[in-house]
């Protein structure tokens, strides 16, 4: 894998797709990389679709907008539908098989199906499907160190409300768990 990576993280509002992207970007900055994060919001107030495009690179990132992504993380079925065609040939797509039972359509990309919601139930509650997916993504791509993300999480915990800060252990557990899914190949293809 070279130092360039483009990923789209998508889900419905409340699943934390945008936040996963932000974590990723911050970690990129920690490692001194160039990076962009660009969100898109749907029209609905309730449960609307949201996604973000993240670029990570060793050099300048001209376009925050991604034509073809190296990877897509689809946290629900609508996201899978919307972004399946956006994955670059040879790229991969993480699918939340808890919420999507759609058939995959392409043969030129890899699919990593993870029952994120079900797996999340196994962790200290609340656990975060977005962060679990991010852990898996990082372990798979090695584009950034899991440690960098953890560092970011710790830094963030310092500036947010006590209530939010209290969730740091859950976040750390979630990301580690996500990485482990790949390490232990708990995925279906």
């Amino acid at each position: 894998m070279n130092g360039d990576m483009s990923v789209i993280i998508s889900g419905f509002g409340g699943q934390g797709a945008l936040f996963a992207g932000i974590l990723l970007c911050h970690a990129a900055v920690v490692e001194g990389k160039h990076t962009t994060w660009f969100p898109a919001y749907g029209a609905e107030m309730r449960g609307g679709a949201v996604n973000c495009s993240v670029n990570i690179s060793d050099s300048d990132v001209p376009s925050p907008i991604i034509d073809e992504a190296d990877a897509v993380i689809a946290l629900n079925d609508a996201s899978q539908e919307k972004f399946e065609h956006k994955v670059k040939a040879g790229g991969f797509m993480i699918i939340n098989s808890s919420l999507s039972h759609l058939k995959t359509k392409r043969t030129d990309i890899n699919y990593i199906k993870i029952p994120l919601n079900e797996l999340a139930q196994k962790l200290t509650q609340p656990a975060f499907v977005n962060v679990i997916a991010l852990g898996a993504f990082l372990e798979k791509t090695k584009i950034l160190k899991i440690e960098s993300v953890k560092e970011v999480m710790k830094e963030m915990a310092k500036t947010v409300s006590a209530k939010k800060a209290a969730l740091l252990p859950n976040n750390l557990e979630s990301i580690e768990f996500g990485a482990n899914i790949i390490r232990q190949q708990m995925v279906t293809a």
Binding site: I22, C25, H26, V29, H34, T35, T36, W37, F38, P39, A40, Y41, A43, V61, P62, S63, P64, I65, I66, D67, E68
Partner: protein
């Protein structure tokens, strides 16, 4: 100072604070509400002024009030909100009141949608205010530039006593990337020579926009347009990206320009002589430089997230020096590197097959 990951809107807000913005007056509107929220969190703590005004009309007129005292003040809005400020913007130019307006464009016309767009170029540049006036318009393309141009906006607003607009699009406002704030780099002019602070031991001053005696407004307008010539001389800025040998020159502003760069890179990799001319100041528009560039090129391709607005300035500047093509998408449709690359490839192929063509009519 180290680079930090920051959202465009928040970068602008923090840069304004660093620039010494003493007052923010605003009314929320997507996709720039973060600017007001950021200001609402930080300005009161610093003992500075933050007011959620009752409307955009009110906001900009509060900016005027602050401006008449020589105080650095700002408002921000988007599209339909900026539409409501037109009367005041014209009056500001007339009465020579400084102030900074941040416009983060969304999809229009009407309420449109909240997707990023560049449909408010005309609004910013040609205005809906009445009479002859010019707002100085700066167009950032990266978060870093948003910071730098925010600094510059505050400075030149005071320097020329004119409103300055930072024209960003939803892409830039909403995206995050690493950037550095640094220090506010300008030395601002003395305002005590003209600002209102009570006629204490000096003749009373007034800052007004009605001038009834015959010929007075004409003289005033001519003087202000002389000032604009000064502005053009001192401030005109554009980015030259691989222009020296470019046969096909792209023109684009704001976020589209960075997307276009990705496409230019790819085209260059394929051996096409393509470059990008990016106006950083939209007023003053780099007419002369663009004309000179056009003279050396075989074609210009103007790219915008609208139906062709900067196009009019491009055509006027190029004025037949080479043909001008347009490619754009309105109302929230985005141009991607692929799309632009494909358009480049298509036009470049044509260029290879023809010599310099006759000027087309839009």
């Amino acid at each position: 100072m180290a680079k930090v990951l920051v959202k465009g809107n928040e970068a602008i807000a923090q840069a304004a604070i660093n620039a010494g913005c003493q007052c923010y007056f605003g009314y929320p509107i997507t996709p720039q509400s973060e600017i007001g929220e950021y200001m609402g969190e930080h300005l009161p703590e610093m003992g500075r002024v933050f007011i959620t005004a009752e409307s955009e009309l009110a906001s900009i007129n509060m900016v005027i009030g602050a401006g008449t005292t020589g105080t650095k003040a700002m408002t921000s809005s988007s599209s339909c909100g900026i539409a409501l400020m037109q009367e005041a913007l014209s009056a500001m130019c007339c009465a020579e009141v400084p102030g900074v307006i941040v416009s983060v464009m969304r999809g229009g016309p009407g309420l449109g949608n909240i997707a990023p767009a560049q449909g408010d170029y005309f609004q910013a540049l040609k205005g809906g205010g009445n009479g002859d006036y010019k707002i100085i318009v700066l167009s950032p393309s990266t978060v870093q530039e948003a910071i730098d141009l925010t600094y510059r906006a505050f400075h030149i607003a005071l320097k020329y006593r004119n409103p300055v607009m930072l024209l960003a699009d939803g892409v830039l406002g909403q995206m995050m990337e690493p950037a550095e704030f640094g220090e506010y780099p300008y030395k601002d002019p003395d305002v005590t020579q003209w600002a209102l602070d009570g006629a204490n031991n000096r003749p009373a001053r007034n800052i007004v926009s009605l001038h009834m005696p015959e010929g007075e407004m004409e003289m005033l307008t001519n003087r202000i347009f002389k000032k604009y010539e000064e502005v053009a001389k001192n401030e005109t800025t554009y980015e030259d990206y691989l222009l020296s040998d470019a046969k096909l020159v792209l023109t684009a502003f704001g976020s589209v320009a960075r997307v276009a760069k990705a496409a230019v890179k790819r085209a260059r990799d394929k051996g096409m002589k393509v470059g990008l001319f990016r106006p950083v100041t939209l007023f003053p528009f780099p007419d002369k430089d663009l004309h000179d560039t056009a003279k050396k090129a075989n074609m210009i391709l103007d790219l915008e997230l609208n139906k062709g607005q900067m196009l009019l300035d491009v055509r006027s500047a190029v004025f037949g020096a080479c043909p001008v093509e347009f490619y754009g998408r309105p109302a929230g449709g985005l141009l991607t590197p692929d799309m632009i690359y494909n358009k480049i490839a298509e036009l470049y192929a044509k260029l290879e097959n023809t010599t310099k063509t006759e000027a087309g009519v839009r």
